[in-house]
């Protein structure tokens, strides 16, 4: 190999290395930009909700909105926008869902973490994952066409659209997340603590209830709060089976309307862009965002603050 050729090869190599360096350097800023999109999304959500809700509050007083209990946006004259009618619908269904799901989810968590053998656990956990992965519209279909008629056999006074049926089905939907997050919290309790209880003569049940459960309480409560947050934000089940009657109060047997169902109702109707009706879904969306945001923060706070450290 001649010297000249050798030199030119080195030169080519250095040139490519320089080019490589330039390429290497551009990666980090590029990825920073990609990562910023998630931040932009949050900013976009807050900005969008506030901006459009601002238009809404040009026509409706904020005070009436956050204190009113009548929701009659479709009235041609003097429509009322009192958010509590929708909030109470949301809470009615959420309360039913969590009352149904909390004990069942907890029981499953205890069974999986304290009683089940590895083999049983390997079968049951994927089943829970399947339940968690079913699209919510499927649950909505199930609530309206199966659960409601079934419940009507038991309670003849139950109307076709009601809070009870979507509440129960919503409960089924959030059971997997309660069960699996609570189980994680209980499995994280060190084995030594359990064995200490057994050594003192505790049965499995006593160890589970009196030792493991209190130790894992922060994680369990956090899982429930998270489940409540998901129930508040759930849309399709409550839209399909809950109805569209925004009545203030706790009426499990009657048609209700949740915040999410209202947004769907307006979206599927023909509210023109720029009408008060159109802007009202952003005001409702903002309330929804606020409720779930606070719940999520609260859930993380509980699991961090009250975690038992071993």
């Amino acid at each position: 190999m001649g010297e000249r050729q050798y030199k030119s090869e080195i030169r080519a190599h250095l040139a490519s290395k320089k080019k490589g360096k330039w390429f290497e350097r551009s990666i980090s800023p590029l990825l920073t930009v990609l990562a910023s999109i998630s931040v932009l999304t949050t900013i976009g959500i807050v900005f969008t909700l506030l901006k459009e809700a601002y238009h809404f509050f040009q026509e409706t007083s904020v005070w009436d909105f956050i204190t009113g209990i009548e929701w009659t946006p479709f009235f041609a004259s003097d429509p009322k926008y009192g958010i509590w009618a929708l909030v109470s619908g949301t809470f009615t269904i959420t309360v039913i869902a969590i009352l149904f799901a909390a004990p069942i989810g907890l029981a499953i968590a205890i069974y999986l973490s304290e009683y089940a053998s590895d083999k049983v656990r390997r079968i049951l956990k994927p089943i829970l994952e399947i339940l968690a992965g079913i699209p919510t519209i499927v649950y909505g279909y199930f609530a309206l066409t199966f659960v409601t008629p079934l419940l009507q056999e038991v309670f003849p006074e139950l109307s076709r659209f009601n809070a009870l049926s979507p509440g129960l089905v919503l409960g089924v939907m959030i059971i997997p997340s309660i069960a699996s997050l609570s189980e994680d919290a209980m499995t994280a309790v060190p084995q030594a603590i359990r064995q200490g209880a057994y050594a003192l003569g505790a049965t499995r049940l006593e160890a589970a209830i009196q030792v493991v459960l209190p130790a894992a309480l922060s994680g369990i409560v956090a899982s429930m709060v998270l489940a409540v947050s998901r129930a508040i934000g759930e849309t399709m089940i409550v839209t399909v089976a809950g109805g569209s009657s925004p009545n203030f109060g706790f009426h499990p047997m009657e048609s209700v309307q949740t915040m999410t169902a209202y947004i769907v109702q307006v979206s599927t109707g023909d509210a023109g862009y720029g009408s008060t009706l159109y802007y009202s879904i952003y005001a409702v969306g903002f309330m929804l965002f606020l409720f779930t945001f606070v719940m999520n923060i609260f859930s993380r706070y509980i699991s961090r603050k009250f975690r038992e450290e071993y």
Partner: protein, 293 residues
């Protein structure tokens, strides 16, 4: 000293043991109850929907007459949505995960992004719909198009992909990266040739999970303005569209029994898509894992 009464102790012990056994069976029964609900749900859907689930259903457009109705429009709409969602969500999600795991310094900005992603994961899907309606449909002027719907769904599933990809990247043993860097590879070469291939099975699983979520989402698409009645095939990504879950919704809320059976048939189609997707994920993961070993 008071002596223990053997009989009392035995009785008490027996009662406690019985309670334990009883509780075990109650917990087990409750767990089985959930299994039963899943079975009832599936049986109900298949018994209602099988009558309508045939070739005609897959190859025809929606109709006002139940016996003529098909799901072709929404099926194509859903597939085209995925064509938008997959590249965007994957590039954004995996890029963010690589940044957070490999490039970001441990400072407030990194912490802020991570907290932000956790919060985004908890935002109700319908709120993403409101975001899409304002930003994509109105501000960017995309109208209620497949592109607008797909972008909305991509942002919705972004947190799932980021978090699972982060976990997968974190799980790659450090010595692999060290070996690569020691041989003179640059940081990006190491990420591209060593870390990503090794994290691929995990990333793939997370991505499939995210796509499953996107296929079944109804609420954000309704808000963005998806159509409920489509009797043409979209010719491009700027066209209006329907999606499978929206069609299911539309059929479910009709009072007539036949339309609810159509809804069940639509659910069967959606479940089949989900099963195929997840089975592919499992298959790919096994294949990749074997190759690595």
């Amino acid at each position: 000293m008071k002596q223990m009464n053997r009989e009392v102790v035995t009785n008490k012990m027996n009662r406690r043991l019985k309670m334990n056994t009883l509780a075990k069976w109650i917990f087990f029964g409750i767990t089985l109850l959930i299994l039963c609900i899943l079975v009832i749900l599936l049986v109900r859907i298949f018994s209602q929907g099988m009558a309508y689930f045939d070739w005609h259903f897959l190859t025809n457009f929606a109709s006002r007459r139940a016996e003529n109705a098909g799901i072709l429009g929404p099926l194509v709409g859903s597939l085209m949505l995925m064509v938008v969602v997959i590249p965007i969500a994957l590039i954004l999600g995996i890029g963010t995960a690589i940044y957070l795991e490999e490039y970001a310094k441990k400072n407030w900005f990194t912490h802020f992004i991570e907290t932000n992603i956790q919060n985004l994961a908890g935002v109700p899907s319908i709120v993403f719909g409101l975001l899409g309606l304002t930003i994509f449909v109105n501000v960017f002027g995309m109208g209620p198009s497949i592109l607008a719907g797909g972008l909305t769904l991509a942002l919705l599933v972004l947190p799932i992909i980021v978090v699972t990809a982060q976990e997968a990247i974190r799980a790659v043993p450090n010595h692999l990266a060290h070996a690569s860097l020691g041989l003179g590879a640059t940081k990006w070469q190491t990420i591209q040739k060593v870390i990503l291939p090794s994290a691929l099975p995990g990333i793939l699983t997370g991505s499939i999970l995210a796509l499953s979520r996107a296929i079944g989402e109804t609420a954000p698409l309704i808000v963005v303005g998806a159509l409920v009645f489509v009797n043409y095939l979209p010719s491009g990504f700027m066209d209006g569209f329907a999606a499978i879950p929206i069609q299911i919704y539309n059929w479910t809320i009709r009072p007539q029994e036949e339309f609810q059976q159509l809804a069940a048939a639509g659910i069967i189609l959606m479940l089949i898509l989900l099963i195929v997707l997840n089975a592919t994920a499992v298959w790919l993961r096994n294949k990749l894992n074997r190759k690595q070993q």
